[in-house]
Symmetry: C2
Subunit: 335 residues, 2 copies
C-alpha cells in the first residue's frame, strides 16, 4: 500500500495537522520541514488526491464533452485547453460522444458522478437538456463554438456569418456568380450561421439564390465527397464551391480528384480550417481559418476564472465572439 500522511506523522513524530499544513503552504518549522521531506522521500509518499477531493469537495478535474475527438478542430482545441488547465493543476477528462445526443447525455452524467469541478462542452444537443441537471450543482459550464439559446452559461463562439460572407466576397470579386455551398447539419448553429452568411452575401449582390446550389452535409469527410459530387452533377454552370468545415473540405478535394476536375480551371474552391492541409493541396487552397488556439485559450481562461470566483452570486454571462481569417491560396480563378 501507498504511504499516507499518518505514516509520515508516525515517522516524524509530528501531528497530522503539521503534515497537512506543510502540503498546503502553511508555516512549518525549518527543522520539521526537513524531517517531513526526508520521510516523504523514504516512504515515496504522494498526496492522495481522491481523499483530498472528498474532503474539499473539489476534484481539480474538468470534464470536456465533444462530438468527435477525431476532428482536427476539436483535437486542436483540446490540446491547447488541456495545456492551460493542467498548468493550473486541473486534469481534464475528455469524452467523445460520437455526435450522438444520447452518448452526450451519458457523458455529462458520467462526469457528474465523477464530481468534476466544471464542464466544457461543444454541444450536439442544441436544446441543452443534457446540461440542465449539472447546472443545478452550481458548477461552471463553458460552451465552445455552439450556443444554446435557453441555457444561461458562458460561451466562446466564432463569427461564422461574417466568416462565410468574407469567403463569398472573395468569389464575387473574382467574378463568380454560380457558387455552391457544402453546408453542415441544419440543426447545428455554426452551420446555420455559415449558411446565413452565404445567403446574405448573395443578397448584398442583389443576386437570386439557387437552392440547387445548397447542399446540407454532415461535417464528415464522406459528406464532403458526396456533397461535391452532387453539386457538380446538379449544376453544370456552377464555377465555385464553398465548403464549411475541415472534414468536408478534405472530402471535397477528394471528390474533385476522383472526378478528375482541375482546380481552379474547372472549379474554384474555398475550404475551411487547417492551414497545413491547404498548403498540401495543389494548388494551395484558399481557406477560412478559425482562431482555434484563441478559442481554446479563451475557454480555458473563462473556466479558470469561474472556478476561482466560486459559486458566488449570479454572475454576468460571458459570450465571447472571435473572428476568422481568410488565408489566400490559388484555388480561386479570376473570371
Amino acid at each position: 500500500m501507498a504511504a499516507t500522511m499518518k505514516d509520515i506523522a508516525k515517522r516524524t513524530g509530528l501531528g497530522l495537522a503539521t503534515i497537512s499544513s506543510y502540503f498546503n503552504g502553511g508555516n512549518v518549522r525549518e527543522k520539521n520541514r526537513v524531517k517531513i521531506e526526508e520521510a516523504i522521500e523514504e516512504l515515496h509518499y504522494e498526496v492522495n488526491e481522491v481523499a483530498r477531493g472528498l474532503k474539499t469537495n473539489a476534484t481539480k478535474t474538468i470534464g470536456v464533452v465533444i462530438p468527435e475527438l477525431n476532428n482536427t478542430f476539436c483535437a486542436e482545441i483540446i490540446t491547447e485547453m488541456e495545456d492551460v488547465l493542467r498548468s493550473h493543476g486541473y486534469a481534464t477528462i475528455v469524452c467523445d460522444c460520437r455526435t450522438d445526443k444520447k452518448l452526450e447525455r451519458d457523458a455529462v452524467e458520467f462526469l457528474s458522478r465523477k464530481r468534476v469541478d466544471g464542464i466544457i462542452n461543444m454541444p450536439v444537443d442544441t436544446e441543452g437538456t443534457h446540461l440542465k441537471k449539472f447546472q443545478k450543482t452550481g458548477k461552471p459550464i463553458v460552451l465552445i463554438d455552439r450556443k444554446i439559446q435557453d441555457l444561461s452559461c458562458d460561451s466562446v463562439l466564432v463569427d461564422n456569418e461574417k466568416a462565410a460572407e468574407d469567403a463569398m466576397r472573395v468569389f464575387f470579386q473574382a467574378g463568380h456568380r454560380k457558387i455552391g455551398i457544402i453546408g453542415g447539419p441544419e440543426e447545428i448553429s455554426t452551420a446555420q450561421e455559415r449558411l446565413q452568411g452565404y445567403r446574405s452575401a448573395y443578397e448584398k449582390q442583389n443576386l437570386p439564390i439557387q437552392e440547387s446550389l445548397i447542399y446540407h452535409g454532415d461535417y464528415t469527410i464522406q459528406g464532403g465527397v458526396k456533397g461535391l459530387e452532387k453539386l457538380v452533377t446538379d449544376n453544370p454552370d456552377m464555377t465555385a464551391v464553398f465548403v464549411t468545415n475541415y472534414e468536408m473540405t478534405m472530402g471535397a478535394v477528394i471528390g474533385v480528384n476522383e472526378l478528375g476536375l482541375k482546380i481552379p480551371e474547372q472549379l474554384s474552391l474555398i475550404g475551411f480550417d487547417n492551414l497545413q492541409f491547404a498548403r498540401a493541396c495543389n494548388p494551395k487552397l484558399t481557406i477560412v481559418a478559425q482562431p482555434t488556439p484563441g478559442i481554446a485559450r479563451e475557454v480555458a481562461g473563462i473556466m479558470l476564472k469561474r472556478l476561482e470566483e466560486g459559486e458566488g452570486e449570479e454572475k454576468e454571462r460571458i459570450t465571447e465572439k472571435l473572428g476568422a481569417e481568410i488565408i489566400t491560396g490559388r484555388s480561386v480563378r479570376v473570371i
Copy 2:
C-alpha cells in the same frame, strides 16, 4: 449540496447498508427497492464516485500519456480506446506531453496522485524512468507503439521493419534505385525500425546504401517539408522518397508542391498513415497504413484484462505485434 446516501436512508427509513447494497447489485426487498428509487428520483441523487474511490481504492479511471494529441495517429487511437474503456465504466484522463520528457514525467506523477487504476503510454522517454515509480504500485501499464527495453510491462506494437521493407519493395519493383527516406527521431524505436526496414531492403537488393538519401526528421509537418527540400537538393538523381509518418508525409507533399515538382513524373512518393489524406492528394498517394483501430482495441483490451485480474502473481507479459498494410495509389512511377 448534492444528496448523499444518508439522505436516502433517512427518506426511506432504511439503513445505509441497504442503500449501498441496492447500488451494488445486492438483494433488496421489492418494496424497499421501490422506495429507494423514489427517493433517488426526488432527491436527484447521484453516486459520488470520489467517495467510492477512496473507500474501494479504485478510481475507475485510466491515465493516458501521449506525445501529441494533435497527431492523427494518437488522436485516432485515443478516440477508439476511450470508447472501449468508457463502455466498461472507465474514464480516461489524457495528458499530452508535447513530446517532452520532463512533461511526460510530470504527467505520470500527476496521474499517480490522482490514483488512476492504470496507465497507457506512448513513451517519449525511451528509458522508461518516468514509469518506474508508478510501476511499484503494482497497477498495470500498457505501452503503445514503442517498446521500452528494461521495463517489464505489456505493449502493443506494429511491425515497423516489415512495413518499411514492404514499401521499399514497391519502389524497387517499379525500377527505382535511388530512394530517399524521411525518417523519425533517432531515439524513437519506431523510427529505428522503419529505418532498419529501409536498410534491409537495400541489402536484400545487394545495393549500396547512400547516407545522403537518409534524412532524420522529427515526425512533424515542418520536419517533412524540410526533409523533402534537403533530400531533393542533395540528391539530384533521387527518383523516389519514402516518408515514415503521417505528419511528415503531409509536410513532404507540401514541399513537393512548393518546389513545383510533379508526382510521380519527377518524384515518386510513398507516405504513411491516413488513407483520407492520401485520397485527397492528386494523384492519390500510395501509403503504408497502420492498423490504428486494431492497436487501440488491443491496448484497451489488455488494460481491461489486467484490471480485472487484479494485482495477482507476476503474469506473463504480453507483447502484441500487428502488421501494417500498403494501400496503393498512383504516386509511384514505373521506370
